[in-house]
């Protein structure tokens, strides 16, 4: 494979922290209860808000009786479409307006009598206590005129239409060769239908907002993973300049994509604060999260594969139907991974989308790939059964040298190595290839594999780095900490770049006053920020050198000759500490910034994307035990071997990769959002009935990675937040197939499907 080698900007000193398993810098805050989340900021005049949710899927509010709610002692106000101050309408979706992409729907809440989904907020109660607000909300009595609604994906999917071209967020359909003809001619083939249900993010922190207006200045504590977008969106909706909005989100209790946009709770908290003149906290109930924050679309997918007798693929057809809402939503790029995984001359990929009268869908951990790989990697496994071939062997036999659809190079692709290492470490050779013969006592044992794939993106990030005369470093950027260890990773990088101890670095983040960051979405944050931290530190070293006083051993040196270590710059022949240099120069600090322009960034991105496909990949190994009496499935072992570029923090990286696998196990075995086919209402809006995995469902998950830097990325680094959920559900399904002989094509694989 040939690649133009772009020298990664790299540390001038010896790497001391990058790659190490250092403790999280916020570990003590999180284990002592000191970390404060969005619903935990006290204000003297704080009032609490609760939402009233529509109970019909579509129609009009003919009347809304708030009398009973208003007389409850402690109620401050009840806002409905009849009395609420107007917000500006949601901006029209445009790629040039991030505030519009932040928009979670086109609905103008509390402005009209229209109801667009079952669960839509139709009133907000503001009260002195959270109990009063909730109780009074239960007394608000809307009456409706119902209109016919299309809510059932299973019946409506036949009305799906091909996805509109030109959505830059999507890797759309693709055609290469003649897949239909090749499939018909193939000596061995499989042609399977799959389905996946709606999934919800279910971050354990329900979305919460505390909104405080001071004149036209708004302070917001918001559980967002996307400060920049949300601020833009709020500025547009409330007609104030962006700079008069301050969003503070230092700690966010999980996101997984669900906190990436401006959902109605945030808007209505701000609206209620404006209407009542009070500081208002709106912490959604768990049910409220289900009713107002979209989840992952359900899908049906067809995967047909043709191969010759040696297992060389001749055709791939992968089509999908997913849904959005009539009031918005993002079409799910279900077949993205299928563009890139197998060397095959004939490819047909396409998406269809149906609009329903439901809450909008949204991105959730690895949108597209998470569910797309379930179908594709299950089908590959099934083809291996047809061929009587080892499923790893089948994959390796079709591993492409260049990107199959586009013909571009991969910047890095080490799936072969991942499978080889994984097979060894997992004990794949002990797998009896026959289905249903491996046993542990009465349990049936099965082993399965699947490939993980997630495209890698990054965004421009503005950072400042400040070096104090005391040798301490402050990195400032409006980044988000939703669990990935943001501050820790950037501190590690900055410490290495400047050659200072980790303890001397503080990362300031989670505040819109800081230089513009990037949403914690699309696995983009860490790598994007790292690029700017590297660039800023390079500038900072130069600036320090320029200050070197007369007589300094650094004087007259070129920066390339120096090493940043031991709290200063050093040359073979001697060096000086930052403190010495700054003190001598009479400076108490030095501050530099790196602020990439959007235009330059876009130009580079476009150039890069014409040359390369950048992605993280992996090999997932799963072992299950299936109870032959009851069909219960337990995941008993797991290994994921990933090709991710450089790993910044061995410990937090492993945790994040495990987290994706845990969510993938949930996807595979127990999770699904149940939407009533008559009413469009979510019927399991609770953590008791939506079954995310618990401790007892999760075995030790073994994580391994190749740690080869991607030569085209700063520090050789990719984002890693999403790749590990991809392929996970297929690995489970393939293991179940091995244990039982049954191919389950409809997620989740609940026990009734195995009886």
């Amino acid at each position: 494979m040939s690649i133009d080698y772009v020298k990664p900007e790299q540390a001038t000193g010896t790497t001391r922290y990058v790659g190490q398993a250092v403790d999280r810098v916020d570990g003590t805050a999180k284990t002592s209860g000191q970390a404060r989340f969005a619903a935990e900021f006290p204000y003297p005049d704080l009032a609490h808000a609760a939402l009233v949710h529509a109970t019909i899927a579509r129609g009009r509010i003919t009347a809304i009786d708030t009398a009973a709610a208003r007389v409850v002692h402690g109620v401050v106000d009840v806002l409905t479409h009849e009395n609420a101050p107007a917000m500006k309408p949601a901006p029209k979706m445009s790629m040039l307006n991030l505030g519009s992409i932040a928009s979670s729907s086109s609905v103008n809440y509390l402005a009209t009598d229209e109801v667009h989904w079952n669960g839509q907020p139709v009133a907000v109660v503001v009260a002195e206590t959270v109990e009063t607000a909730r109780y009074a909300a239960s007394l608000v009595a809307p009456t409706y005129q119902e209109l016919p609604a299309a809510v059932d994906f299973a019946t409506e999917k036949h009305n799906a239409v091909p996805e509109k071209k030109g959505n830059p967020l999507l890797e759309g359909g693709a055609d290469k060769g003649d897949a239909t003809a090749a499939l018909a001619a193939a000596p061995v083939s499989v042609d399977l239908e799959f389905s996946t249900p709606q999934y919800n993010h279910n971050a354990i922190e329900p979305h919460a907002t505390t909104a405080v207006w001071d004149g036209d200045h708004l302070t917001l504590h918001d559980s967002t993973q996307n400060i920049g977008w949300v601020r833009k969106h709020l500025a547009q909706r409330f007609g104030v300049p962006e700079k008069s909005i301050r969003i503070l989100s230092p700690f966010v209790g999980g996101g997984f994509g669900g906190k990436g946009r401006a959902w109605p709770g945030t808007l209505l908290a701000v609206l209620a604060a404006r209407a009542t003149g009070r500081a208002v906290r709106l912490a959604l109930t768990r049910e409220g999260v289900y009713h107002t924050v979209g989840g992952r679309t359900p899908s049906t997918q067809r995967v047909a594969l043709g191969a010759d007798a040696q297992g060389r693929l001749t055709a791939i057809v992968h089509t999908s139907v997913s849904r959005i809402a009539r009031v918005g939503g993002l079409p799910e790029p279900v077949t993205t991974a299928t563009h890139h995984l197998y060397a095959v001359p004939n490819i047909h990929l396409s998406h269809e989308v149906v609009e329903l009268d439901l809450l909008t869908n949204t991105f959730m951990r690895a949108p597209g790939e998470a569910i797309g790989t379930f179908a594709l990697e299950s089908a590959i496994d099934e083809l291996a059964w047809e061929l009587g071939m080892d499923p790893i062997e089948l994959r390796l036999r079709n591993e492409p040298e260049r990107d199959p659809v586009s013909g571009k190079s991969f910047t890095q692709r080490m799936l072969r190595e991942a499978y080889a290492r994984g097979a060894e470490r997992f004990g794949w050779r002990d797998r009896d290839p026959r289905p249903g013969v491996m046993r542990d006592g009465r349990w049936l044992v099965g082993m399965g594999v699947a490939t993980a794939f997630r495209g890698s993106i990054h965004m421009p990030v503005h950072v400042t780095v400040r070096l104090g005369a005391d040798g301490k470093l402050v990195v400032r950027c409006a980044l988000h900490e939703i669990g990935m260890g943001t501050a820790t990773a950037q501190a590690q990088i900055a410490a290495d770049e400047m050659g200072v101890p980790l303890e001397s670095v503080r990362v300031e983040y989670g505040d819109s006053e800081l230089p513009r960051g990037v949403g914690a979405i699309g696995s983009a944050q860490t790598a994007s920020a790292a690029a700017s931290v590297l660039a800023a530190c390079a500038k900072l070293r130069k600036a320090v050198l320029a200050l070197a006083p007369p007589g300094s051993p650094l004087r007259g040196r070129r920066i390339e000759e120096l090493e940043a270590r031991d709290g200063g710059l050093h040359h073979r022949d001697g060096g000086q500490t930052y403190t010495e240099i700054l003190t001598a120069a009479g400076r108490d600090h030095l501050e530099v910034e790196h602020k990439p322009t959007m235009l330059g960034f876009l130009a580079r991105t476009v150039r890069d994307s014409r040359r390369w496909v950048k992605a993280t990949t992996g090999a997932q190994f799963c072992e299950v035990r299936v109870d032959p009496d009851t069909g219960e499935v337990r995941v008993s072992r797991w290994l994921g071997v990933f090709d991710l570029g450089t790993v910044i923090n061995a410990r937090t990286a492993a945790s994040q990769l495990r987290g994706g696998i845990v969510m993938g196990i949930g996807m595979a075995l127990s999770e699904q959002t149940l939407i009533d086919h008559r009413t469009g209402r979510i019927m399991n809006p609770s953590l008791a009935e939506y079954h995310v995995p618990v401790h007892a469902d999760i075995p030790h998950i073994d994580i391994d990675y190749l740690n080869e830097p991607d030569p085209t990325m700063p520090l050789g680094l990719h984002g890693i937040g999403e790749v590990s959920i991809t392929g996970a559900a297929a690995a489970v399904a393939n293991a179940v197939r091995h244990a039982t002989g049954k191919r389950v094509r409809d997620l989740p694989i609940t026990l009734d499907k195995l009886l």
Binding site: R134, S138, D629, H677, N684, E689, P693, A696
Partner: protein, 328 residues
């Protein structure tokens, strides 16, 4: 939740008196009632906290049985060495329910009287005869994967969600109740009612009746509990089986069998028991008996699998008891 008055009597007379007022409701650990009040499903005027009453011990009965106070916490009962030794099925059933934290809160009385987890019961926007008599039953043509297959009616197909009660049903437990007219004793299998046309009436208790204790007669047979659910822990049963079995020379001499997750009440499988006693303790007769018990099942599209699941779970549980003998 709707405002209410709170009282915490320390003697049983005051408690019964306080609860005799219309709109009063007893409060045990609160793990079900508080949830339902917050959802607006239960709307009591007065909440009578019974956790101060002196029924929080497990005592020996003459003849080898046990008397369990109604305020004994689920965790304490599960850990009681006498329960573990003599009624392992009960200890196991309790330990399969809810979570460590919830078991520390939940009382025996509250567990007996916990209400269904039917999703339409929980959503005040849905039609539900149990919550709103006469409003209809949205579960019939809705999500009914968790619903009952035995003892149901056209007005309600909800299950009773308790694990503990399934074990109690198998053990011939008797519930002691204190009402306005004094103390009554109700066999557990008569305690809960089938829905018929009045699914809102779930037990044979009169308003204001206080559960004070549960009595267990001695049981000689080895017993165990098997619960099947959608995740490995912290989920309600799809199907569960409480069984006690004694085999002598390959012949079943005593059997007790109750099913959970399949009926509006803990389901004592008398028909299966009848077929089993005196017959061979083998897989074929276990299956025949289970299938006979389930022959009367009324199925909905989503819950039809429960017939096969219940049958194999019965077989698996009896197989285990017959091969391992004791509880484990």
């Amino acid at each position: 939740m709707r405002p209410f008055a709170y009282v915490k009597p320390v003697d049983v007379e005051t408690a019964v008196l306080a609860a005799a007022k219309p709109g009063a409701k007893f409060l045990g650990g609160g793990t079900n009632l508080v949830d339902l009040m917050r959802e607006g499903i239960e709307r009591p005027d007065t909440v009578v906290d019974v956790t101060g009453l002196p029924f929080d011990t497990v005592d020996e009965l003459p003849g080898g049985g046990l008397r369990i106070g109604a305020m004994v916490r689920n965790s304490a009962l599960a850990a009681d060495p006498r329960v573990r030794a003599r009624y392992p099925v009960l200890s196991q059933a309790l330990l399969c329910g809810a979570s460590g934290q919830l078991r520390n809160m939940a009382t025996v009385g509250g567990n007996l009287l916990q209400r269904t987890r039917c999703p339409y019961f929980y959503d005040t926007a849905a039609a539900c005869n149990k919550r709103e008599p006469g409003s209809g039953c949205d579960a019939l043509d809705g999500f009914n994967r968790g619903c009952a297959i035995l003892g149901v009616s056209e007005s309600c197909i909800a299950t009773h969600p308790s694990d503990m009660c399934v074990a109690l049903a198998a053990l011939d437990a008797v519930v002691e109740v204190r009402g306005a007219d004094g103390t009554r004793r109700i066999p557990l299998t008569d305690f809960h009612r089938l829905p018929g046309d009045t699914p809102e009436i779930e037990t044979t208790l009169a308003p204001g009746d206080l559960v004070t204790a549960v009595e267990l007669p001695p049981v000689a047979a080895g017993s165990r509990y098997r619960k099947v659910r959608d995740r490995a822990s912290y989920a309600f049963a799809l199907v569960s089986v409480a069984a006690a079995l004694r085999v002598s020379d390959g012949i079943v001499t005593e059997v007790r069998l109750a099913l959970g997750g399949v009926a509006p009440k803990p389901w004592r499988a008398r028909e299966a028991e009848r077929l089993l006693v005196g017959g061979p303790a083998d897989e074929a007769s276990f299956r025949r008996a289970a299938e006979a018990e389930l022959a009367a099942a009324t199925l909905r599209p989503d819950n039809a699998f429960k017939v096969a699941l219940a049958a194999s779970t019965v077989v698996a549980t009896l197989r285990m008891l017959s091969t391992e003998g004791a509880s484990r």
